[in-house]
């Protein structure tokens, strides 16, 4: 590879006005929102992570081997045999009424009180994110989000051309003072803030939870600035210590849209999530969803419904919690032993450790070396809409076994040592390389 300048040379045949092939006939037809949808070398590297030789600490895939798959299998067979004509048919745009009833039980530990009519079933909570953004955000509107923030939500906000403004977190989650300051600044600048997006429980990727004391404070600040809260809660039932904290929705149902999901507590393959929203918003969500997908999958909804009815799902969530707690402990113990120069949080639930690299290393630039050494993670920049997060990375402990986690961290420690040596040899300052858009792995890659 070199860089051709395309200029006139003696060997060149001048053909003024000629255009070449761009391998895409429709290039001039794409909407502006597709800008930035490009191939990514980082995303390509994750392809290697799917090989068994690689310890992937990258993907947030739940450990489905812990599910009673035989029970699920029998339940699915029965569903098709006895209710196939309904399960394989179109359904309600708002979602199956029976499932919406059962979702009330699932949300009870987080103290979300609602009526089944307040719930819209969606194709994973990712579709709920899409629908909420679609009905609220015009290009250039502001979405305030934690720093860092869930990569899948950032992708949705970007696709609707929102400006994401990050607010810092600490060990107790979103910082109220910083939120007030940011909203004040935005108001002064005349910006339209449409949503405050937050993952209050076992944050992805930061691993922290918004403390009980801060929850009412955050809700009050949002009320004061008249900003709707979008509360994304896929990990609320997966806390390792104590009871779940009350959802923000429980503190102000009229000012919060609550998103839930069965992807982490049952199985993501069914793609069933939901939104709880005030009446007027919910009506628009249903219309937007019908315009998009007509209705969520009847089969998936009834499968989830059968599972909740026929199986002790609360016990199963406990099984997942114990499993992930052990893997969290294995991760922290391996980090203590092998990576003392790095810093990380101690998650009290969920799937993730958020790690700060020593020496200001650039996690994105280091990823090819990690893949060569057969370990994968997600670089921190994936979780920001701006240029932050270079010296952070996300480790997922949900999928690999404890032995594999330890081996992965051993490899990661060696990669970091080698990178520190290169950095010291060249005296290069981290963050000098161009920061192209960084993506997390696609959901099917670990």
């Amino acid at each position: 590879m070199q860089t051709g300048d395309g200029g006139v040379t003696p060997g060149r045949t001048p053909r003024t006005g000629e255009s070449g092939s761009r391998l895409d006939h429709w290039l001039d037809s794409y909407a502006a929102r597709t800008r930035g949808m490009t191939a990514s070398e980082i995303r390509a590297l994750f392809a290697v992570a799917s090989r068994p030789e690689v310890v992937s600490l990258a993907g947030g895939m739940p450990y489905l081997h812990a599910l009673p798959l035989d029970v699920v299998g029998r339940s699915l067979a029965k569903l098709v045999a006895e209710h196939g004509a309904v399960a394989l048919q179109y359904g309600s745009g708002q979602g199956d009424p029976g499932l919406r009833e059962r979702i009330l039980d699932v949300m009870a530990p987080n103290r979300v009180v609602a009526h089944p009519d307040d719930i819209v079933v969606t194709t994973g909570s990712q579709q709920a994110l899409d629908l909420v953004t679609r009905i609220f955000v015009d290009p250039g509107d502001v979405v305030v989000a934690e720093a860092p923030s869930y990569v899948g939500a950032l992708g949705v906000f970007r696709s609707y051309q929102a400006d994401v403004v990050h607010v810092p977190m600490d060990a107790d989650g979103l910082q109220p003072e910083a939120l007030t300051e940011t909203l004040t600044e935005l108001k002064r600048a005349g910006r339209r803030v449409k949503l405050l997006y937050t993952v209050p429980n076992h944050h992805n990727p930061a691993g922290v939870s918004l403390s009980a004391a801060r929850r009412p404070e955050i809700v009050r600040i949002a009320q004061r600035f008249n900003v709707l809260i979008l509360e994304d809660d896929p990990y609320g039932l997966l806390g390792f210590d104590g009871d779940p904290l009350p959802a923000l929705h429980s503190l102000n149902p009229d000012g919060v849209i609550y998103l839930g999901s069965f992807s982490k507590t049952f199985a993501p393959g069914f793609r069933v999530g939901w939104a709880v929203a005030p009446h007027a918003i919910r009506e628009k969500l249903v219309l937007a969803s019908e315009a998009s997908i007509l209705c969520p999958s009847s089969f998936s909804q009834l499968a989830v419904s059968s599972y909740l009815a026929d199986h002790d799902w609360k016990h199963q969530v406990g099984v997942f919690r114990d499993l992930y707690r052990d893997r969290r402990n294995a991760t922290l113990s391996a980090l203590d032993d092998m990576l003392p120069s790095a810093q990380w949080n101690v998650p009290n639930g969920g799937f993730y450790v958020w790690l700060k690299l020593p020496g200001g290393l650039d996690a994105k630039a280091m990823l090819p070396r990690a893949v060569t050494q057969r370990v994968a993670y997600v670089p921190g920049t994936a979780f920001y809409a701006d240029d932050q997060g270079r010296d952070h990375l996300r480790l997922s402990y949900c999928y690999p076994t404890q032995d594999r986690i330890r081996e992965g961290i051993r490899r990661l420690a060696a990669v970091i040592d080698a990178e520190l040596e290169i950095q010291s040899t060249f005296g290069a300052h981290p963050g000098q390389s161009p920061n192209r858009r960084v993506y997390a792995p696609s959901p099917d890659l670990t």
Binding site: Q2, T3, P10, G11, S21, A365, E419, T425, R436
Partner: protein, 321 residues
């Protein structure tokens, strides 16, 4: 004639796994259209069982990066005596390392940009600032830094100031242990595909590459629309013939077989400069080889089938001899 049974090897563990998987799928589709029976396999502990199952007539390794392009997998195919499409291991070993390859073409009398190839250890031992200064003094600016082994533009960058060189080295060493630092030649970037479906290799129309960003990196290579291609390249007839001659000369100098792609720059005086040669060039939707085949008025599926038939007929000739 019975449909040839082709095993395509795609995937592997290199940084270019994703590109290889895409190349594999694309070629498999084309070969099926051309009447072949095709299986696609990753390179893993089961693949030799498939190779030796008696249900494979030949193997097409479409593995990019190490083991695919360094000759290792082909060495094993030689060991188990199964015919394969592409160059022999010794030729791959010469072309795989860009610094070795540049030496080979220099010996063959071809022009290639001045360069130095160094492992990262030497910078630690001798002190990076002194070595980098010596590089800039010797080669001048701008420079191109890239891993000596590997492709798809991964780890490659253009350096216009001495201050930018340390970071380019760090980025490059993330992808490999040896960096090739090359004098930048301003001009027209072209790729020339050489194929041999019959008695002797011939060059297809050169493809000119004009990336929007100015750098033909990974994004520019694999995002449809990010690069403008002209085939044939917008060169004079003499320059077109000249780059084709260089590609053929390189193909011969390395002792390559069946299919290769040579990347060159045509400078301000119309002179071609060899950059590198690929024994397993990309065959994806945005790759240069299929583009060159179409520019020649041929159908990729038909050409791939001809290549398959050549491998099988060469094998028969050897067996009969």
């Amino acid at each position: 004639m019975l449909a040839p049974r082709v095993l395509i090897l795609a995937g592997g563990l290199s940084h270019e796994r994703d590109v290889s998987l895409r190349s594999g799928r694309r070629v498999a589709d084309a070969l099926r259209d051309a009447g072949c029976e095709v299986t696609v396999s990753d390179v893993d502990a089961q693949v030799l069982e498939t190779v030796l199952s008696g249900r494979v007539d030949l193997v097409w390794p479409l593995l990019h990066g190490a083991s695919g392009e360094d000759g290792a997998v082909r060495d094993v195919l030689e060991l188990v005596d199964i015919p394969y499409l592409g160059s022999v291991p010794a030729a791959c070993r010469l072309s795989w390392d860009k610094s070795v390859a540049k030496g080979v073409v220099q010996a063959a009398g071809l022009r290639t940009p001045d360069f130095v190839a160094l492992p990262h250890g030497i910078f630690r031992e001798l002190g990076a600032p002194r070595v980098l200064t010596a590089m800039v003094e010797r080669l001048g600016l701008p420079l191109v830094v890239k891993p000596a082994r590997g492709g798809s533009g991964l780890g490659a960058s253009a350096v216009r100031t001495a201050e930018g060189l340390p970071q380019a080295m760090v980025d490059c060493f993330a992808y490999g242990d040896v960096a090739l630092v090359e004098k930048h030649i301003a001009g027209v970037e072209v790729a020339v595909t050489v194929i041999d479906t019959g008695d002797s290799p011939f060059a297809l129309p050169p493809v000119e590459i004009v990336p929007d960003s100015g750098l033909y990196d990974y994004d520019a290579r694999y995002t449809a629309g990010a690069t403008e291609f002209f085939s044939p390249a917008r060169l004079t007839d003499a320059a077109l013939e000249s780059v084709k001659a260089v590609a053929l000369a390189a193909h011969h100098a390395f002792g390559l077989r069946h299919l290769s792609r040579t990347d060159l720059i045509v400078d301000a005086d119309g002179e071609p400069w060899f950059l590198e040669v690929n024994v397993a060039p990309g065959m994806t939707e945005t790759s240069l080889v299929p583009m060159a085949i179409e520019a020649a008025g041929l159908r990729p599926a038909a050409v791939y089938r001809q290549l398959i038939e050549k491998v099988l007929s060469d094998r028969t000739s050897v067996a009969q001899a």
